[in-house]
């Protein structure tokens, strides 16, 4: 075990996979100087300009070229800088990368990883703060991953790079500096398996990415009131770990999904609806969701905070869920 940041864990994942497999390479703007957050620091020196490729500011072509390169025997890691800029490359991801294997009858695969840093990050305003993971879960062909700890960022990024499907890999910008222990050796985390971040009997919190921390904090607060929350960090959003979630809700009878994205049509809707469909008669309270209101993220902190899911808001939402059941 060594201590590492979330950022450094991602960097280690790239290094290990590039050392293991010569067909892995990375492309994106400013990668030669380490990338905008330092995720690629020193990598061009290690692997050369061919495998750590600086690109023009051409998101559509970055994504499209990665699709072509993935079809042609390489495994590109696409760096989109901010997930918001990936909106300049949606045709390439959704109409091309996600559909090619199917559309062409399985003649090839498109093994690429799109790294899309997501989420709110100190006054970054409307165009640098989005979390659009639910979009990608809706698109057949795509795998969607959202790690929330350094160890998971190591193990999931390695798994994503080895996966033969196109993977949208969403690191949270606010987690770059988060420290945690990293296992030694070839640490892999399987795609599609949730992590029970905290066990509890009273209510199930399903979450991912930046909200894992907030849920754990909220769980502490609730514990002092005698409410024991189970916190499930999904880690992979598609495919999501139904078994883990259903087992937990069968036990607790209560579900709150917590995510940073806008609640309306967020991925919480899918989970809440799935649980309501499957476990309606086991629920002690209605399923519930906590996400951002349907507003763009503002710059000034007073307004920005209205779009931020805080531990206090999670606590309040859990308390609401714990209220005695309405008589039907």
């Amino acid at each position: 075990m060594t201590m590492s940041t979330y950022l450094e864990a991602g960097r280690r994942a790239v290094i290990e996979e590039m050392e293991r497999d010569a067909s892995v390479w990375a492309l994106g703007e400013d990668l030669g100087r380490g990338g905008v957050f330092g995720q690629y620091k020193g990598l061009q020196e290690m692997f050369g300009t061919g495998r750590i490729a600086d690109t023009p500011i051409s998101e559509a072509c970055i994504m499209g070229a990665a699709v072509g390169a993935a079809m042609t025997g390489t495994r590109p890691i696409v760096e989109m800088r901010f997930s918001d800029f990936a909106l300049c490359a949606v045709d390439e991801l959704v109409n091309q990368a996600a559909k090619a294997r199917f559309m062409f009858g399985g003649q090839m695969r498109v093994p690429l990883v799109v790294r899309e840093p997501v989420g709110m990050w100190r006054s970054s305003a409307a165009q640098h703060s989005q979390s659009l993971e639910s979009w990608y879960t809706h698109i057949p062909g795509l795998v969607v991953v959202a790690p929330s700890t350094p160890a998971d960022n190591l193990g999931l990024l390695k798994a994503a790079i080895r996966c033969d499907d196109p993977v949208v890999y969403m690191e949270h910008k606010n987690l770059w500096g988060l420290e945690g222990e990293l296992p030694e050796g070839d640490h892999m985390v399987p795609l599609g398996k949730a992590d029970i971040a905290r066990e509890g009997r009273d209510v199930t919190l399903v979450t991912w990415s930046g909200m894992r921390q907030g849920c754990l904090k909220a769980a502490e607060t609730l514990a002092s009131d005698g409410i024991e929350a189970e916190v499930i960090d999904l880690r992979t959003l598609w495919p999501w770990d139904r078994d883990a979630v259903m087992a937990s809700v069968e036990k607790t009878g209560r579900l709150l999904v917590v995510h940073e994205a806008v609640t309306v049509s967020g991925f919480g809707a899918e989970i809440a609806a799935s649980v309501a469909e499957a476990l309606h008669f086991r629920l002690k309270a209605p399923v519930s969701r906590l996400g951002a209101p349907r507003i763009p993220v503002a710059y000034a902190p007073t307004m920005e905070d209205e779009a931020r899911v805080s531990p206090a808001r999670i606590v309040a939402a859990v308390r609401k869920t714990m209220q005695p059941a309405e008589v039907s």
């Binding site: 072509g68 390169a69 025997g73 062409f104 399985g106 057949p140």
Partner: protein, 336 residues
């Protein structure tokens, strides 16, 4: 426009041109069968015929090796056949049958045959340009001697990915030949009216890519220009650009009456048929009429047989809808 290609008979490789004439007949026969098939309800989705444009497909792809890669468009039957794909598999794909190039999943607009380096038609105009560029990028990383050819229409040059892809190919010095198949129209719109400046070639030049323009209805001219460009690309000189001026003799799709085109213009181009022009040249080179007629007949007959076989082929299993979606996650989860 109706003049022969002005051949110097002595260095006229008539055997090769006879072969390419056969290929052009094959392409035309394929599309005539497809159009007939569509009228009968056998071809299910839209088709975009390239009748009149066969010299581009034959002239360009006739210079590629099987290992080379090629990406095409919605109007891609000709390119695909010329790259070596099997006509029966293609026809089955159009008919949505078992054994289609994509197992019936793609149809005309998504024909692909990776076995012969045909990396796909595309339903999104211009989308093949960055993909082709990326394929060339991979080849360069791999130190391959293969090259990529990317064919697109005149309308595609107004999409941003055109510029992004060409710039990328220049910056990374990639082995890719861009071919603009300029048939003057983007669906029902005369492309020139929506295009600023001198057009495709001028844009490529401004991005630092050497360009050539050629009469796209003259097979021998396309052949020569494509060979020169392909040789340069294969020699590691980076990307090249080739514009082939041509015309589509049908509407945008097989059901478009194309009333937006002056009848006289269509007539003029009809007199400029690339197949007829190559036949003239071959006659000038001493090939007998009978041989030319037989070539046409045999290709047409073979294609009729293909269409017959295709229509008698089974439908793919419904269960195929759930295969080749992705490895991770179960696509059947929400199936009925």
């Amino acid at each position: 426009m109706t003049e022969g290609p002005g051949l110097r008979r002595d260095n006229f490789d008539w055997e090769r041109f006879l072969e390419l004439l056969g290929l052009m007949h094959r392409i035309r026969a394929f599309e005539e069968e497809a159009i007939a098939g569509q009228k009968e309800g056998l071809v299910l989705g839209a088709i975009h015929p390239s009748i009149g444009q066969e010299a581009v497909a034959a002239g360009v792809c006739g210079n590629l090796e099987t290992a080379d890669l090629m990406l095409s468009t919605h109007r891609g039957h000709g390119h695909t056949l010329a790259k070596g794909a099997d006509g029966l598999a293609m026809m089955r794909e159009l008919f949505g049958r078992k054994g289609g190039t994509c197992g019936g999943k793609g149809g005309s607009m998504h024909i692909a045959d990776f076995g012969v380096g045909m990396l796909g038609a595309n339903g999104v105009v211009g989308a093949n340009i960055p993909i082709a560029t990326g394929a060339a990028h991979a080849l360069k990383l791999q130190g391959s001697r293969q090259i990529v050819t990317c064919i697109f229409g005149d309308g595609a040059v107004n999409r941003g990915p055109f510029m992004e892809g060409l710039n990328w190919a220049r910056v990374f010095d990639l082995p890719v030949l861009f071919v603009c198949e300029d048939n003057n129209f983007s669906a029902t719109t005369r492309t020139r009216e929506m295009t600023g400046g001198a057009g495709a070639g001028a844009r490529a030049e401004s991005l630092g890519i050497e360009t050539t323009e050629v009469d796209g209805n003259d097979l021998t001219a396309v052949d020569a220009a494509a060979r020169a460009a392909i040789d340069a690309v294969r020699a590691g000189q980076g990307p090249r650009f080739l514009t082939c001026h041509t015309y589509r003799m049908t509407g945008h799709t097989s059901v478009d009456p194309a009333a937006y085109r002056p009848a006289q213009e269509v007539e003029e181009w009809r007199g400029n048929d690339p197949i007829a022009r190559l036949e003239v040249a071959l006659r000038m080179a001493g090939i007998e009429d009978a041989q030319l007629t037989e070539l046409h007949r045999s290709e047409a007959a073979a294609m009729a047989e293909i269409a017959r076989t295709a229509r008698e082929t089974d439908w793919p299993e419904a269960a195929g809808a759930f295969t080749d979606v992705q490895d991770v996650g179960d696509p059947r989860e929400r199936a009925y």
